[in-house]
Symmetry: C2
Subunit: 339 residues, 2 copies
């Protein structure tokens, strides 16, 4: 707790958009422990991942404001006086973005302009750390993927996320609203949405294992991914928020144990002692937006900030499975009854 970037947050007025969501709530817990003044903004749109239970135990030490980041006048008000804004609100589902591209546009692209305009006009001294995604790279030309790799998103969600990211860089460079983007790979851990399978596979796999159900893996399971435990992802946000050397830049934030789907499922079922796997053909609509193997090179961010993953896959999945074993009902119930 004596590291400078952690001390930085004592008494600091911070805001987290998507603050009741998966990464936002875990980050909020760390910020509370560091003594920050924490405002959580969340729309609690059903199916998106925000959940009051995510802040159980710290609810009386944060401010919660239900609001939609698309709403300009509300954002104009909320950003005032906030020194660091962790900008995590978003629509996460690739699949939904292809069914309803306009909603994805509004939430992932237009809303970023709303937040940044709010800062430009009402709080230009704010520092904004954006939750980007490795999706922007699309199907990689080489592995591991570093930040020099071309941006080539394969779905509407990826396009809107990269536009949102670019806005942060332009507002940093042109208007002096300091900002940077962390391109996260697959984040996992407690408080992730597991109610449906449209927000990526890892939360869904964990649910199936915990429920002792069958995991379907497409193809032969040889595709590789990297994973970051959510506490390590939150630590990356803390470092980026405290360090002006990050301003105007994008950074990969990925795991250091790339693993195939096959080995991942073996690890999960092994840790849990429940669940099993079957392999099946790729459904064509999923194959069309699949990117093969992917893992990130995060050396640029590590060199600059000292960040590195501290939680191994085995430890992280063990903690995650234990969490959902304890709280499963909270995370699979209909959201309207799950507060």
């Amino acid at each position: 707790m004596s590291l400078p970037y952690l001390d930085f947050y004592r008494g600091r007025r911070v805001m987290i958009t998507g603050g009741l969501g998966f990464i936002g709530s875990n980050l909020a817990r760390q910020l509370v422990a560091l003594g920050a003044d924490v405002l959580l903004v969340d729309s609690l749109i059903p199916d998106y991942g925000g959940h009051h239970f995510n802040i159980e135990g710290v609810a009386d030490r944060v401010h919660v404001n239900i609001a939609d980041v698309r709403q300009q006048s509300t954002m104009n008000y909320l950003v005032r006086g906030r020194e660091v804004i962790f900008n995590l609100a978003g629509q996460v589902s690739h699949i939904d973005s292809m069914r309803d591209p306009f909603t994805d546009l509004e939430i992932n692209c237009r809303s970023q302009l709303t937040i940044l305009e709010a800062c430009r006009r009402n709080n230009p001294a704010a520092k904004v750390v954006y939750a980007g995604t490795r999706q922007v790279y699309g199907k990689p030309d080489y592995l591991p993927v570093d930040e020099r790799h071309l941006v080539r998103p394969t779905d509407v969600n990826g396009i809107n996320k990269v536009a949102g990211e670019y806005y942060h860089l332009v507002y940093n460079n042109v208007f002096g609203v300091r900002g940077c983007s962390l391109r996260l790979t697959n984040i996992y851990g407690p408080r992730q949405l597991i109610r449906h399978n449209r927000q990526g596979f890892i939360g869904w796999f964990i649910r199936l294992v915990v429920e002792d159900r069958e995991i379907e893996v497409f193809g032969d399971g040889s595709q590789v991914r990297d994973f970051v435990f959510v506490d390590d992802a939150a630590d990356a946000f803390l470092r980026a928020g405290a360090d002006d050397a990050c301003n105007g830049e994008v950074f990969n934030v990925g795991g250091d144990e790339p693993i195939s789907h096959r080995d991942l499922v073996t690890m999960l079922t092994g840790i849990a002692g429940t669940g099993r796997v079957t392999y099946r053909e790729w459904p064509p609509e999923k194959k069309a937006i699949d990117i093969g193997s992917f893992y990130a090179d995060s050396k640029r961010f590590s060199s600059l900030t000292g960040w590195k993953p501290r939680v191994s896959l085995r430890e992280g999945f063990t903690r995650t499975i234990a969490y959902y074993r304890e709280h499963l009902a909270r995370y699979i119930a209909d959201p309207s009854s799950a507060s």
Copy 2:
């Protein structure tokens, strides 16, 4: 006129968004000459560049439909049965995009989804050729810039343009709505907007020369650009529209005579025998989004389609200056009185 890609357009049902604008109207003239069935869609928003006079002489051989590409139901109707759509409608001003980022978002980003959704639902067999821009590269890491260069836009307009481009690629790859993007550098020639200076400098410079006024060049004028005469740009669209080998790809379309601002102004004033130049300090708000020297490597597109610029700078500027000498009043009048 016997080249296959030209024959392709005989009797072809095509549509041009932004069809009364600068590039759109010049492209329309070529398509009329090739015997195509041409629908021009334009919003005629004042200040954007659309102009009835641009189709004088061919107005009775094209269909004109005033509509806004942001309007979903209208686009759903208009795209039906159109075999090739040249998608040129857009807000072109970088400066306006920084003052009013939301309008730029609506016109350059959201409208592209509108057009592509219209095709997906109503005309999935359409081929869509998108007018991209070299702006997406931002300040170049190396020269000439090829398509492997990172995308790193420096203003909101550049971000929205690249998002619009990416949508075309995703709709090609996922939904089979064939599409590609031409990243145009600086296009010049007859029928360009010269009424104000917010759509890039080249039209404005030409106006000042024709009016025998003073051209202000920022800095020492050493920054280099490449230029394409509008007929050559239109030819690039014709080739891309006729060639399915272009689908799902982006291509630079740039000039082969990179020239410094200083030499450009010397050439313009020399050809015209009018106009003069002064050099002044960069205004800070312009410097903040300036990208230094830029010229494109267009070999990829040339190799695939055979395209290359046929009009030299000297010839092109001579024709352009002659055009505006003849029609100046049409292009500097208030748009509401200039039809």
